[in-house]
């Protein structure tokens, strides 16, 4: 309830037109950011509790979830530091019908210059196709981005259940070089 109240408060305050449109002084806008950030943290706590109790129902071990709130700028401490071993990605679909979103996370290059190799397994045990792309250059130089990730992994979480979860198992290995998709320059020529 305490977390929900933080979120309610944030929703109430940030419905003000100044919060929506940016018609406020910078320090007021910074305060809107602070309130939204607190609500975001509270939301993740609720997510973690719900995900843990859901997995407990099925007898699965409890997991310590790490959210990555800065995925919008391709920054994620968890996936960047996990260069070997296994991890779980639990995806929650808040929509009342199935959807198949793209799941994206940033990864770093190893000493050999290539990111680790990933094997992603869906809840039915099928291997899920994925790509490893180099991040676009403007992302690498974003001011305020605190990340060494130069690549991103993406895959499609197919047919997520309505208002439900699906967990994907990711096995990370450095055994062989990852086949990163190459960025190919197009020869654009005005004279032609």
């Amino acid at each position: 309830e305490a977390e929900l109240n933080l979120m309610r408060e944030a929703l109430g305050i940030n419905q003000h037109h100044d919060a929506v449109t940016g018609t406020a002084k910078q320090h007021v806008t910074d305060d809107y950011y602070r309130i939204l950030h607190n609500a975001n943290v509270a939301g993740w706590k609720i997510f973690e509790a719900a995900a843990n109790s859901a997995s407990a129902v099925n007898g699965a071990p409890k997991l310590a979830y790490s959210p990555c709130p800065r995925l919008n700028i391709s920054e994620c401490a968890f996936t960047e530091s996990t260069t070997s071993g296994n991890f779980i990605i639990t995806v929650y679909n808040p929509l009342g019908r199935p959807q198949s979103p793209l799941i994206v996370f940033p990864v770093v290059a190893l000493e050999n210059g290539s990111p680790p190799t990933y094997v992603i397994t869906d809840p039915e045990g099928n291997t899920v196709p994925h790509d490893v792309f180099p991040l676009p250059q403007p992302i690498l130089v974003l001011p305020g981005r605190n990340s060494n990730a130069e690549y991103q992994v993406h895959f499609v979480a197919r047919d997520l259940p309505p208002v439900g979860f699906a967990s994907y198992h990711v096995s990370v290995s450095t055994a062989r070089k990852n086949r990163v998709k190459r960025e190919v320059k197009l020869k654009v020529n005005r004279s032609k």
């Binding site: 995900a51 808040p94 799941i103 397994t121 305020g144 320059k185």
Partner: protein
């Protein structure tokens, strides 16, 4: 000669080989539905002023008032590259250091994406700027474009026209045709004698933006602005977000769909709820193998 051609199950997208801009989009599954489309980043210089009288009115947090009545162009020839994978393809187009985007499409999707990165907007020349992403097409929209009203009702907007009063001459061509776009905007062929052959270009936004159809066939959305004068409506500060000492950088998404008018609403309605109800995901370490985890 014909340009660089990309395709998925639904679209053929062609880039101009001379400039790198998108030049046309064609539906593979809907014969007759194709359009010449040029997307580019452009900008308006924000009007300077101290708000002493009407002509001295500055562009600011509340007021959008460009200095000229046509947007200024950026570099015509883009740096373009692509990355193609098993899941999706990305076309990466770099216009300037402060304006670029990635056109992304999955092999099986009717929705194309333009993920833009804008900023920091340069102000070394002492001029505030308002950056737009503009789509110019051959769609004959007859001065009409459509925006949503808080994601619900779709409102038709007619250029230089108000339904309840006579629009005077003392207004400005760009500003008077800008409207709020909360989640979607579209233009479509005015002639809908055959709705299966009339075209509609819909753009879904991931945030509220301003937009308009300033000339026929065009649809523009303002993605970022940085201004150096207050517009005297109460903020008392210029809209100059100088984060990190360099100015704010924004990253966002426009989803765009070209389809027949008869098919458009069922596509964009389904897609826009996915934007509002985006999936959340989080990561957790495990010592279990995939087999044991299952």
């Amino acid at each position: 000669k014909q340009g660089f051609v990309f395709e998925n199950d639904f679209y053929v997208i062609t880039l101009d080989s001379a400039t790198g801009h998108v030049s046309s989009i064609e539906r593979k599954d809907q014969p007759g539905i194709s359009a010449s489309v040029r997307q580019e980043f452009m900008f308006y210089n924000g009007m300077r002023g101290f708000n002493q009288n009407f002509s001295d009115r500055a562009s600011g947090a509340y007021i959008f008032r460009p200095e000229s009545q046509a947007p200024l162009t950026m570099r015509d020839q883009l740096d373009v590259s692509f990355v193609a994978g098993d899941v999706l393809t990305e076309i990466r187009a770099y216009t300037e250091d402060w304006a670029s985007h990635v056109i992304r499409f999955r092999s099986d999707s009717e929705v194309l994406e333009s993920e833009w990165i804008a900023g920091p907007i340069p102000i070394d020349d002492g001029v505030g700027k308002e950056l737009i992403s503009r789509f110019v097409t051959d769609i004959r929209n007859g001065a009409k474009f459509y925006t949503d009203s808080n994601g619900k009702l779709t409102e038709p907007r007619t250029r230089d026209y108000r339904p309840t009063f006579e629009l005077g001459d003392d207004t400005e061509a760009v500003s008077r045709n800008y409207y709020p776009v909360l989640s979607r905007s579209y233009i479509r062929d005015e002639d809908q004698s055959d709705p299966n052959l009339s075209r509609q270009l819909t753009i879904l936004t991931d945030r509220a933006q301003g937009g308009g159809s300033i000339v026929d066939g065009a649809l523009e959305l303002m993605v970022h602005r940085r201004l150096l004068y207050d517009d005297a409506f109460g903020v008392g500060e210029a809209l100059n977000e100088s984060a990190f000492g360099t100015g704010l950088v924004a990253r966002g998404l426009h989803k765009f769909i070209l389809t027949s008018v008869s098919n458009a609403a069922k596509l964009y309605r389904a897609e826009e709820v996915k934007d509002i109800m985006r999936p959340l995901y989080a990561f957790a370490p495990t010592s279990l193998s995939a087999k044991k985890w299952l």
